[in-house]
Symmetry: C2
Subunit: 439 residues, 2 copies
């Protein structure tokens, strides 16, 4: 088991050290994860990474190696405390795959001050990364309007972020990943056939030999494979592909150029060659806008890379982890514009009988199940579920597949303007009820 | 040893499978890593990640677990080949910390087609991530004009990307990281004191108690610590800080608001309180532009988070891994605008006797040491060094500290306009000599 304990900012441990001196480590605290705003112009976010947070929490242990590396910066009492550390508190949160909006209490961590504060960085790293990718991916899936999307951006992001990106993209509705570690670790369906290098590798002293490359690929992978036709001339590439594989060829891929124009030309050429069932895969710098612009074109499948794994302009979700309650007293930072809303919150979402959501309501001092003022005639859904009880992961939490269906369902509940790709306001407003005065 | 072998795109292994059938796995190939362009408007890039690539290469082995997960998608011959895999070829490249420009052959991998092609994703993931962060960090360090910079963005990126980001930032001249794993793994100096949560945790039924929090922190960390003064009212916070710690207090940190205005006010207040040696640390959504705008203010240290770990708008360096030569024959993709320059290249940089660099020259068919046409009166430096020979890492490669000094030295060699923060062209042009016709 590789420890996750050092995936932490130093100040968390120096705070622990100071709290130990002051005798405040065990003050009963509530920490909340939320985003003050959605990424620029987005209308919703998708919660992703919750499952990975729970995995990482189980490995958050300070073993001998971790403690040795901390010895130069921490006192003996602090090191002793860390050696015994395991989280024993409670965590509730939005289920993975839930939509979120500004202020949504995505995760609520209850426990002693010290046991909660030292989880800040790890929890935020995971949720900020995965939610950024899932939120961008959901927009791409929506823009693809039912055509499958393959995630193939691993090479454009950190090698481990690539694995988490593939998971988050799948959660958000992407169909396949190119990443083999994501297939192994999370069971994400993988896909992939060949790159330009394969075709180029058949060049010889007489020149290029695209047909030999295609023949080799078909021999190994069958006629159902996807042949990459734009290494040299695309029209010749399509001609070669069908001559070599026959009209039963699975697909051709175009990775460059004006994809809309090329898709139309290639479709016509394929049809003329009798390859009416051969699909067209496009890739190359696609984002949700490019995908949407291809909606009228004969494209069967999108391969998305850079923009997906980098959150399409918003590579982090900007979530924060804030102390909101101490010994039952609401607390909040008060200087400048970075105000937080103090106090632990209950979160519900109100929807019309048609299923369309109309607002998110954050309540203080009201227990689960109690009626929510101002929601007459609306269906009210609780948004938080128990995730950890007394330090142990709750059993029967949603699987990745279930969470994936939950995203798809959630997108259907958005007001129609909520799915727009242009810049806009959050799809629904957030209302605070019974807000306390914070200290 | 955790294997890195599955941090790979599926198509690399299906290409291997097809190459095995066609008998082309051992064709002698040269692959090159380069960036077609610098991120939007940047004038230089910083090569980072080379050391991590060499670490990852040593762990690129297909063990029983990896092979088991590949069995559903690969044939037996391919699995057998992978079980025996280890890279036995040659790698040359720009040393880590070298500046790069469009087309610079940052890494050149020589070996059989199959042994080279399957490294594509892993090599690109590392170099694209680390170089994006280092390239942004160098601009921030330059904007800070000698004032120290702390990297504290771990919470805004994937938890493992955070560690690599801290390393890349340090390489580029950042002074400290908040990330404890980066301190352990790479020896990056770490720093950090306290967050708002610490101050808030001292709230009680009577209200907030900033003084108690400050006293606890000083008791644990000494008067040299940094007190965060903007949880409540900043002026009161500074007053409390000096009253509690005395005028020998190490520093105060401001994390929100108009940092320039606040820094001036706080400096005046500290001076009035006799705390003339107490430093001012600022943080909160800083990027290179915000850092530069604070140059005239009494700021002693910058804490940089989100923008650093996300490459300040360019979270990936956009490098590609292209097959450029097969059995001595230059090859290149020819369709559309994504042309590559075929053929393995020698790279040199020409500089005036003052040290200022004037151009990068990529030459075909000329051995190291041979004179380079058009460089009379200029100093010519070879840019590639041997990194791997017959699969083994070359001994005595530059350490992280040496590479860090190399970045600092490199920035001094740029023409003056090369350090501008505004959008511009690459600081020096790239010239191709003796370019062959590719197949």
């Amino acid at each position: 088991m590789t420890s996750t304990a050092l995936l932490t900012d130093q100040y968390e441990l120096t705070m622990l050290s100071a709290a130990l001196r002051a005798g405040t480590t065990d003050r009963s605290c509530v920490f909340e994860v939320f985003a003050r705003r959605l990424p620029d112009g987005r209308r919703y976010g998708v919660v992703a990474g919750t499952g990975r947070v729970l995995d990482a929490l189980e490995k958050f242990r300070f073993g001998e190696e971790e403690l040795a590396s901390l010895r130069p910066i921490l006192d003996a009492d602090t090191l002793d405390w860390l050696a015994e550390y395991r989280f024993n508190g409670q965590i509730d949160g939005y289920r993975e795959g839930e939509l979120y909006f500004p202020g949504s209490p995505i995760l609520t961590v209850r426990g002693g001050f010290a046991e909660g504060v030292i989880l800040e960085t790890l929890i935020l790293s995971i949720l900020n990364h995965d939610s950024a990718v899932a939120s961008a991916a959901a927009r791409m899936v929506n823009a693809a309007a039912g055509r499958p999307v393959i995630e193939m951006g691993g090479r454009r992001t950190h090698e481990q972020a690539a694995v988490a990106s593939a998971r988050a993209a799948y959660l958000a509705g992407v169909d396949h990943t190119s990443n083999l570690e994501a297939a192994r670790t999370y069971g994400v369906p993988s896909a992939g056939t060949a790159a330009h290098a394969f075709t180029l590798s058949f060049a010889n002293a007489d020149g290029s030999d695209e047909r030999a490359a295609f023949a080799a690929q078909v021999a190994a992978l069958g006629v159902g494979t996807t042949l990459l036709v734009d290494t040299y001339d695309i029209t010749t590439g399509v001609q070669n592909a069908i001559e070599v594989a026959g009209p039963e060829l699975g697909a051709v891929r175009i990775d460059s150029g004006d994809l809309g124009v090329l898709a139309r030309q290639v479709r016509q050429q394929l049809d003329d060659l009798g390859a009416t069932g051969t699909k067209i895969v496009v890739s190359g710098d696609l984002d949700e806008y490019a995908i949407a612009s291809l909606r009228a074109e004969p494209v069967d499948l999108y391969g998305v890379g850079t923009s997906l794994v980098t959150g399409s302009g918003s590579p982090t979700a900007g979530m924060v982890y804030k102390l909101v309650e101490v010994d039952g007293i609401p607390v909040a930072k008060r200087s400048s514009r970075k105000e937080s809303h103090g106090g632990a919150k209950r979160a519900v979402r109100a929807a019309r009988s048609t299923g369309t959501i109309v607002e998110e309501i954050l309540l203080r001092d009201s227990a689960r199940g109690q009626s929510v003022p101002g929601t007459d005639g609306l269906d009210v859904t609780e948004l938080q579920i128990p995730l950890v009880r007394d330090g142990e992961r709750v059993e029967g939490l949603p699987t990745l597949e279930e969470s994936r269906r939950h995203v798809a369902h959630g997108l259907v509940t958005l007001p129609w303007e909520g799915l727009g790709l242009s810049h806009g306001d959050p799809a629904i407003p957030t209302r605070y009820l019974n807000e306390p005065e914070s200290r």
